[in-house]
Amino acid sequence: MSEPLIFKHSRSGRSAVGQYPQAVSAEVPEKFRRRKRAALPEVSELQAVRHFTRLSQLNFSIDTHFYPLGSCTMKYNPRACNAFAMLPEFLGRHPLAPNSVSQGFLACLFELQEMLKEVTGMKGVSLTPMAGAQGEFAGVAMIRAYHKARNDLERTEIIVPDAAHGTNPATATMCGCTVVEIPSLPNGDIDIDALKGALGPKTAGIMLTNPSTLGVFERRIQEVAKLVHEAGGLLYYDGANLNAILGKVRPGDMGFDVIHMNLHKTFSTPHGGGGPGSGAVGVGQRLLPFLPIPTVGKDGDNYRWLDEKDVPQTIGRLSAFMGNAGVLLRAYVYMRMLGREGMHRVAEFSALNANYLLARLKKAGFDAAYPERRASHEFIITMKRQAKELGVNAMDFAKRLLDYGYHAPTTYFPLLVPECLLIEPTETEAKEELDGFVDALIAIQAEAEQDAAKVKGAPYTLPVRRLDDVRAAKQLDLTYGMRSTE
């Protein structure tokens, strides 16, 4: 199955004419006037609908496939979240509408702030960051602002474990900090000695996710917190892995000063093929004055926006309005549907699924990266042995899984485990789905042993076979018409 580019359906003079007002032309002075229309497609409504419907069918998605993509928490996105966030009144509300006609919307946001405080153990929450990376930015920016406000200007170093998400060091750099990387121990825990060595008067803070990207819980987190705080630094919690501990342990209780949450992971707002996400931040007492604006406050029965006047030390605004407001409504609906007991279950069943999958894979002969550890909501297997002995690497396994109808796990991340697959089943998948996935990996292993080339040539049943990424980067073809090809 394939579908030509929309431009191939275009004919000069064709249009979906019912979609726009007729017979108005603007009088534009010559100096401002556009001379030649943009090369947008000219198609009928049916052609557009058919084209994009067919394109959609070329995708894997949660709604069609098991998607055990480690670190991404691809769980079911309840349809109710979308339906209720898209009520016409919410869709039609202008972001700058007066508070008097916004109480319903503001109530949802206020309550979402309160619920997020409770599940993270934080003192304040700002919902404005538009993605995890922006939440990270806000977090580190607040740490910076905190030290600056104390006139502690030398603190510009951010400690990051080698297993961290790429966004962590990138964010630290963006905030004008220097990154100090520390190693992990063979058992997956942080090297406390290395940490001690890294800490000092220049330490602004440390960025951690716990459980780490290695899929294991950092057991000495209290000691880490104590050390960092004693050194004058603050602790930043990367919420990418919050699903693993939701309702079990709270970052605030572990000693973290700031957290960002990926609402599109833990709180199940959709990933949308690459966003929108939402990276709400929570802070402890020390960072409350620095929260990004706007947030929602409550005076008596009245909700209102809080801005510079209310939070004069704020790190400022991160979006033109209130971040990804519609995403926040979806997260709010999700949390209300789960309720208190549901929160606890998130970690419980994501851990059950991950540990079960790990147990079955170990039993089937696959190599766990941390075989002695509990899995959190995810875990790592390494294909180092297969790569060496059979010439079939982690990517080959991943691509072949697509033919079996399973989305591939995350490959080659974290960087420090060779040939790794980071597998996160999430709590919304049924046991038989996990069993099917194990069976597929076993079958691929058998294929690899008998006919490695077959696995290396995968996938075979998708819209395209393996793509030439080198050509893509060398012979850049980024817009229709850039190259003569087709």
Partner: protein
């Protein structure tokens, strides 16, 4: 258990396979002292029906007032087909297209989007989106610093007619990176950049000049002159545009003799509902020579093992998951679903349709100004050519007027008196193609009543 499929039997089987006595045991590596006792502040679970009732009540509370507010977010007709397709599970619930073979739908769509945005802005390349228009400008400033190797100042010149929030966001985002912003005033009575103030910077090391067109007041800047001046003075030019306006107006790629260097803006007018401010999406296009400095995802066309056309993420070496602390940006998740909406929207409207929407919006705003300025106590702040927004000056305090209008179920515009105190009781209004003549009359009658202090 909502959304959890496990039966009691299965839980038992799974624990047995794990060799754990209970689910709780799976958390035995977490220090006992840290374990949550309760989450008292979280309410009990609601059924979908009950949540639906709650959300409908909240929505109804806010209602659907008649809207005359723009200021960076615009109410336009969105074809019914757009969100019917966008919310298909295959788009809605897919992840970032890391596994290209299993994501050709999203990837091809993004390539089509890049093509459309490049052509619309008159530039060579586009990324696959940023968060919103404001943060896109921040990214553009950082990009300009990277791209303009000869400039050492990291100094960005911005007109005060730039959307003030865009400047706030840019300041917040670049805070840690030693950029500085020089803000130039506007010509009173005209509402456009005071060109002499720009000329006064001649000879200084400027990294980039930002131009918003139409500007925050809805007025049209002399973009050709500013662009040429900036280039003549070795500064890059960053254009901030409303993409809809480009259906009528000269694209930034054609401003001045050489065109601008980076174009950004908010894609919201293309198929994205107002939705309280988001999710929207930021767009960014540039010249080919700067593509490696561009932040965000970029999709390229290539071929597969059989030589068949396919699409894939490319130039990933710029990105955080490869470059880590040396990445061009920390951006990761972007606004893919909104780009999906915009791409379908642009395909349904086409250039002709966008032109018609833009022209109608402009016409309705002109009519609105005409009707409102006939009311005693209302006058137009600026002369000159404008798109679909205008600044009015009222005889009384704007916030009181807006409150009174809100009681009449009208969102009357944006109070500028804090942002631009020198303008007095200034109100920014907007009418798009969605406002009928009858709507304009409703507003005019209400405003007249309010100014006359009728109940």
């Amino acid at each position: 258990m909502p959304f959890i499929p496990h039966t009691e039997t299965e839980i038992g089987e799974m624990l047995a396979a794990i060799g754990a006595p209970s689910i709780d045991a799976l958390f035995d590596e977490i220090p006992a002292a840290l374990r949550i006792k309760s989450l008292a502040a979280i309410p009990d679970a609601l059924s979908e029906m009950d949540v639906g009732r709650l959300m409908q009540a909240r929505a109804s509370q806010d209602g659907r007032p008649l809207n005359f507010l723009g200021a960076g977010a615009y109410e336009h007709h969105i074809p019914a087909a757009v969100w019917a397709i966008v919310t298909r599970g295959e788009f809605y619930s897919a992840y970032t297209p890391y596994q290209a073979e299993a994501s050709q739908g999203t990837l091809q769509l993004l390539y089509e989007y890049q093509s459309m945005m490049s052509s619309l802005t008159g530039m060579e390349v586009s990324n696959a989106s940023l968060y919103d228009g404001a943060s896109a400008l921040a990214e553009a400033c950082l990009m300009a610093v990277r791209a303009h190797r000869k400039s050492k100042s990291a100094r960005i010149v911005v007109p005060s007619t730039l959307n003030p929030t865009y400047l706030s966001v840019s300041r917040a985002v670049v805070e840690g990176q030693n950029l500085s912003f020089t803000v130039l005033p506007y010509e009173s009575g005209k509402g456009t950049l005071q060109f002499s103030k720009l000329e006064a910077l001649k000879g200084e090391d400027l990294t980039a000049v930002v131009i918003q067109q139409p500007n925050f007041f809805g007025q049209m800047e002399d973009v050709d002159a500013i662009t040429d001046w900036a280039h003549a003075n070795n500064a890059l030019v960053i254009a901030v545009v409303n993409p809809l306006s480009l259906a009528l107006f000269k694209p930034p790629g054609e401003w001045g003799t050489k065109g601008v260097d980076i174009v950004v803006g908010d894609g919201q007018p293309f198929g994205v509902p107002l939705s309280s401010g988001g999710p929207y999406f930021g767009f960014m296009t540039t010249r080919m020579e700067h593509v490696r400095q561009m932040p965000g995802r970029i999709i390229g066309r290539t071929v597969d093992l059989d030589g068949k056309q396919g699409f894939t993420l490319t130039l990933q070496a710029r990105e955080q998951h490869i470059r880590r602390s040396k990445a061009t940006s920390n951006i990761c998740t972007n606004q893919g679903l909104l780009v999906t909406a915009a791409t379908i929207h642009m395909s349904l409207l086409g250039a002709a349709g966008l032109e018609s929407v833009a022209a109608t919006s402009q016409r309705q705003t002109s009519k609105l100004i005409e009707k409102l300025t006939r009311i005693p106590g209302v006058k137009l702040a600026f002369d000159g050519y404008r798109f679909h927004e205008a600044v009015l000056q009222l005889s009384v305090k704007v916030s009181d007027v807006l409150d009174a209008l809100a009681k009449r179920n009208i969102v009357g515009g944006l109070d500028l008196s804090n942002l631009y105190p020198e303008l007095g009781n200034a109100l920014l209004v907007c009418a798009t193609e969605t406002r009928t003549d009858a709507d304009l009359d409703t507003y005019a009658a209400a405003l007249a009543d309010v100014l006359e202090r009728k109940p």
